[in-house]
Symmetry: C2
Subunit: 366 residues, 2 copies
Amino acid sequence: MVLKQDKAEGQQPPARPAGVPAKRATIRDVAREAGVGIGTVSRVLSGRAPVAPATRARVEAAMRKLGYHPSRAAQALSRRRTNTIAVVVPLFTRYFYVEVLRGIEEALDETGYALVIHSVERAADRDRAFGDLVESQRADGALIVSLAPDLSLIESLRALHLPAVLIDSSHPALPSVVVDHERAAAEATHHLLRLGHRRVALIDRKDDPFSAEAASARIPGYRRALAEAAIPWRAEYEVIIDFTPEGGQTALRSLLALPEPPTAVFVGSDTQALGVLEAAREAGLRVPGDLAIVGYNDIEVARYVGLTTMRVPMREMGRRGGELLLRALDLGEVEAVHLRFDAELIVRRTCGGSLFRMPTGIDAIG
Amino acid sequence: MVLKQDKAEGQQPPARPAGVPAKRATIRDVAREAGVGIGTVSRVLSGRAPVAPATRARVEAAMRKLGYHPSRAAQALSRRRTNTIAVVVPLFTRYFYVEVLRGIEEALDETGYALVIHSVERAADRDRAFGDLVESQRADGALIVSLAPDLSLIESLRALHLPAVLIDSSHPALPSVVVDHERAAAEATHHLLRLGHRRVALIDRKDDPFSAEAASARIPGYRRALAEAAIPWRAEYEVIIDFTPEGGQTALRSLLALPEPPTAVFVGSDTQALGVLEAAREAGLRVPGDLAIVGYNDIEVARYVGLTTMRVPMREMGRRGGELLLRALDLGEVEAVHLRFDAELIVRRTCGGSLFRMPTGIDAIG
DNA sequence: TTGCCAGTTGGAACCGGTTCCAGTATACTG
DNA sequence: CAGTATACTGGAACCGGTTCCAACTGGCAA
């Protein structure tokens, strides 16, 4: 990678010290300029107490003249609230999290709350992020995405009266917004069974990337669907593996190596499903002719590779989570409301079957 | 979309008022507990002045006993810095921006700076975000991604001594991290020409989504490459269109309707290239047999659809931008350094040609 | 012994808002 | 007409840190 560095030629005066911001007008300056007391200025600012119209006008003129803007830091200190909401989210590069964040943004838009993002990449980060949340009351509330809160966090939040909402994760003590993964998995599996498949495998990953015991809730859904169709369950058809395309690729390879390889796979994430597609291609299998695939989440790519998948309302979840938190902030109390969404089956080209007419010519992508 | 709402059954005591956080130990409480003055506690906290080891131990014990953590708001007020960095980024759902953010995160990790994200979806948002930046010194510095700062912003930043760094955008007065789009476009075009194409079209979008006049810097690169190969330039081969797959699709359709349709297209964004692929498929063209395509950015999907593209070092740009800002914050002055990166050609399946051996069987995807 | 310095320490003043109480002017009641 | 509410206003006290100056200590050179 080539990298060039151009020094700017002195078009500008030597920069004066940054870091320490320039002196700004304070509320007292405004008060002096307008010939009123600081209390009056504060009242004009907040609009929460009566001020005579003439006085208000004078104060506003003074503010304009001095280019006055209240200091957030000072407001935060004296109001005891920061107008900031913390979001703790794992690996926020992933499409899923980005969509959730987008939903949160939607909810917070226009409310004056700023969003501080704590991205968590390792389990240690998570603990640090949770610690931060608690210690340095930088935020008035928290949204925790796809991470299981531990007991000590819950207690700290309660002790500090810091409202928090869980998104894609749940705990009885906190409000949450989740998807019914169990049901969604059952629906995906049912779909494959309806298409006539009898050898349906599952490739999946953990739900919470950082807690080893948080097995995916999709597993029971998959098993239930099999049971309901009276198809015997086979241990070797369940592969739990890394949440990466490579994981999916490896998983499918191993399934194909079985004496009786599956004819259909339900994959617990589109990300892994991409790898599954790759492995199918490398094995020379036609999709969906030789192998039907249903993914999970409906990430952006899914549409372009024609992946049939369960759409999870990611943005909606973010938005609802944000709204729940705003309400808790407003009401001054948290109600442990639990919202549960259902995923929706999006049929594209990787599942085939006679139930759906495919547009001609794009039946196969393998 | 189905939505269920369960009220929690009263497993927990009625929540006490949130919003107003519980009383926390202050520095004065710690001082009293440890039998020292507040100055001494502050010194222990900051570690920036000598404190006798025995005293320090007593203070630390007191802090531990009281569960003391300094208030960020109070620190921000008295230190006149917030330890927060603002990022202004358009439509941050896009892979490009997410990658840049990831790079920024990398740079800021472990530095104690928090990241406040201002997502900009409309031009009005941008102005509001810029306004916020200036007014409410919520942040010590700013990173502005893919947005052209206007003059008034530059002046405000300077007046406030608020350091800012531009990423994927530039201005003489501010440090910036950019990609040499002109050169990258020339390289992409050259590649297609080297493969023997003589009818090479360009599909592109604006560089800055919010400023109408910011034509893509790729256009001159494309033209230069043509000129260097002595290929006459044709106005009808340059299509500037929406930054969406649909835009790309529409663009290719119109190019194919020309009396002499191109045999190759350089597309100024992978997102549009996805639509181009779709349009090629719908027209029954083989890619790259009938139409060669080179995209731009190397977004995640590109790999899975086999798109040849110019890889832009998105994460690296974010990281460098973050580092530049940290340095400005450290030094207390901003040097208008301009870093320029080159994009890198990533050859996959959509350009074809005899120069590169394709793995068998995946030559065509149309 | 005195003088001086470095190492420590206490705490008032300050950062820039909000809040609340006391005070003034005006309006309305009986 | 006094009596009391009502509308508005000023500013001290406070939020919880940091900073700086004055003061105290002991060690060491003169």
